[in-house]
């Protein structure tokens, strides 16, 4: 977990984050920890309801109404997001943290020209004049891959395809020169070829602008393509974290392994896919110990007691107490 080489490039640090929905007595995110640095893409992978999107929203201080931070710390570029007031958060959003959303069809204001939506984001922070903001918007449109950006400036969202809209959303997120881009399943609503182009665009941005990206996805294939590191979330907790290649080749948590086996690949037909037995825990279910234990083929009675994310190898960590069994077994496991 400790990576001294990136300490000075550190952008984001989430520690033991707990998120609570309304007045319910339990938390939907139960002690999630995460780090991200400039120039790297950190993925949060997990199934629906694992709390990955809420964790991302919390980083920008944009939790939906009714969801509150019940514990833990979030630090973005030395700003304490949990304790920050509305003013500080507003300055953080756009200027330090940009957000890319899942649904490009609804993330843009249907009644405003796309150029103005970008220019408005540029105006919100820098001290640009109106014409400078417009020039910046046109420049951003070009940056995210619009041919004829000056003409496209005047278009409305409904005149664009989903992929192009997502590019506009990315341009908006970039307008305030943020150092951290939060992407909430940005390719889920797009088809496969468009997905690849958007992923390439994001990779280019990391390389050219030196920004950091936190990338939430349920798709390990997408995560494998873009992420330098992946944190796998299950039932509101990070169960495993590590460099993408290592983590996918030799998972150190049975849940990661199960997810991998559920991914269709070229040489694995539909019958070769393995669904994960059982269901994720219900909201409010008591979860002493490992939340995955009831569905886990490696579980032992001790798994039902206290667990924590512990370092394994150099820069990986897992919450599975039986990770050594997995490591031994996965020696022969190649995917």
């Amino acid at each position: 977990m400790s990576r001294p080489d990136v300490a000075d490039r550190r952008l984001l640090s989430v520690r033991d984050l707990r998120l609570r929905v309304g007045g319910e007595a339990h938390d939907v995110v139960r002690g999630a920890s995460l780090d991200a640095a400039r120039g790297e893409v950190v993925g949060i992978a997990g199934e629906s309801g694992s709390g990955k999107s809420l964790t991302l929203r919390a980083i920008a201080g944009l939790l939906p109404t009714g969801v509150t931070v019940a514990g833990g710390d979030i630090e973005v570029d030395r700003v304490d997001v949990v304790k920050a007031g509305p003013q500080t958060l507003r300055k953080l959003r756009g200027a330090t943290v940009g957000m890319v959303f899942q649904e490009p069809m609804t993330a843009l204001n249907p009644t405003m020209r796309i150029g103005r939506q970008i220019a408005e984001a540029a105006l919100a922070h820098g001290d640009l004049s109106r014409s400078q903001a417009k020039a910046r918007a046109i420049e951003l449109l070009e940056r995210v891959g619009f041919p004829e950006p000056a003409r496209r400036y005047r278009q409305f969202p409904h005149q664009l395809s989903g992929g192009m809209r997502q590019r506009v959303v990315i341009a908006i997120a970039l307008a305030g020169n943020p150092s951290l881009l939060l992407c909430d399943e940005p390719t889920t609503a797009l088809d496969a070829t468009v997905t690849l182009r958007i992923l390439d665009l994001l990779t280019d941005l990391v390389r050219d602008l030196g920004i950091g990206i936190v990338f939430v996805t349920h798709d390990l294939g997408v995560a494998a393509r873009i992420c330098d590191r992946i944190a796998v979330m299950y039932a509101g907790q990070v169960v495993e974290e590590g460099p993408t290649a290592e983590l996918l080749r030799r998972p150190r948590h049975p849940y990661t392994l199960a997810l991998l086996r559920a991914v269709p690949t070229r040489d694995r037909d539909i019958d070769g896919l393995r669904a994960i037995p059982g269901n994720p825990p219900q909201r409010g279910e008591e979860l002493p110990g490992c939340a995955f234990a009831p569905r886990c083929e490696y579980a032992e009675p001790a798994c039902r007691s206290e667990i924590e994310l512990v370092p394994v190898d150099d820069d990986r960590s897992t919450s599975c107490r039986r990770h050594s069994v997995l490591a031994a077994m996965a020696g022969g496991h190649h995917d």
């Binding site: 507003r90 959303f101 609804t106 993330a107 249907p110 009644t111 305030g176």
Partner: protein, 313 residues
């Protein structure tokens, strides 16, 4: 221009509606039980007078001939001659139309001026005290009859405070602004609650939209989000509510016109009905119907101005 094309196409779509209106207005005279000429002239009319009126109105012709004649006159700008006034119905209407139009536009503007801030204010804290206050005001506004409110306003503002004229219309723009304020306010009081309700609900709905989250993620201030992103997107359904209400208002201003002695179109209509003045009633009905169609075209235009997607559909 896409917008000009949209405008023209909406106007063309209104043509069949207007044709339908002329048919209904034409048939109007035959819907009255008994002989229309007899009804118009009263029980003591001589058969000669009735015959004369028959041929004047063309009632001795076959029905389709009558309609063609009616349309021929209409397209020539002849709305018929009033029996009661012995004057061209067109001239009578032209003299009274401005006051009614003033009243409607004035009331609609006032209603918007009240409704937009009230709705935004209420929606900014749903279920809070301010929201409930606005709701109570709305219910009261809806429940108070216009003629009563008009009389109370005359009594308080004009008679007791001597602030505004109690009746009649003063000449000139400022004169109109002043003398039509109370009647317009009376009408607006009934219209505002409906607009407030729809706008408040719509603002709350749009607040939950993804693009509002995008706007927040940009780091915009709440005020910027409200003005640039919320209001415009929440406005479209309220424009529909306003359009429908203004449509009802056309021809529905007669009570207020009577209370304030304004002598507008509604007043003329009432006079025509009282006097069994068929040509006059037909003419006023036709003009009111055209106005309603026109207001609806304007409403569609407003929708297209607010939401660029409307043009495409």
């Amino acid at each position: 221009m896409a917008f000009a094309r949209f405008f023209v196409s909406r106007l063309l779509q209104a043509v069949p509606v207007l044709l339908g209106v002329t048919l209904v207005v034409f048939v109007l005279i035959h819907l009255v039980p008994g002989d229309p000429a007899q009804t118009a002239l009263g029980p003591r009319a001589t058969p000669d007078a009735i015959d004369a009126l028959h041929s004047q109105w063309g009632l001795d012709q076959p029905l389709h001939e009558q309609y063609l004649l009616f349309m021929e006159r209409l397209l020539g700008g002849d709305l018929g001659t009033s029996l009661r006034f012995g004057q061209s119905a067109g001239d009578l209407i032209a003299a009274r139309l401005p006051v009614t139009l003033w009243l409607i536009v004035y009331a609609a503007v006032l209603a918007c001026l009240f409704a937009v801030p009230l709705a935004l204010w209420a929606a900014s804290r749903p279920a809070a005290l301010r929201d409930r206050v606005v709701r109570v005001i709305s219910v009261v506004g809806l429940g108070v009859p216009g003629f009563w409110l008009g009389l109370v306003l005359i009594e308080v503002v004009s008679v007791n405070w001597l602030l505004l004229p109690a009746a009649g219309v003063e000449p000139g723009f400022l004169g109109h602004m002043e003398s039509l304020f109370l009647p317009s306010l009376t009408i607006a009081a009934g219209m505002t609650p409906l607009v407030v309700r729809s706008l408040r609900a719509e603002v709350l709905r749009v607040t939950e939209s993804d693009f509002v989250t995008t706007a927040r993620a940009k780091g915009l201030t709440p005020h910027q989000i409200r003005m640039r992103h919320l209001l415009r997107n929440a406005l479209a359904p309220s424009v529909t509510v306003l359009t429908v209400n203004v449509s009802f208002l056309i021809g529905g201003t007669l009570v207020i016109e009577r209370v304030f002695g304004l002598g507008g179109l509604g007043d003329l209509m009432l006079t025509g009905i009282d006097a069994r003045d068929f040509p006059l009633v037909q003419a006023v009905t036709l003009v009111l119907a055209v106005l309603v169609v026109f207001v609806n075209v304007l409403g569609d235009l407003a929708q297209a101005l607010i939401d660029p997607r409307v043009e495409v559909q």
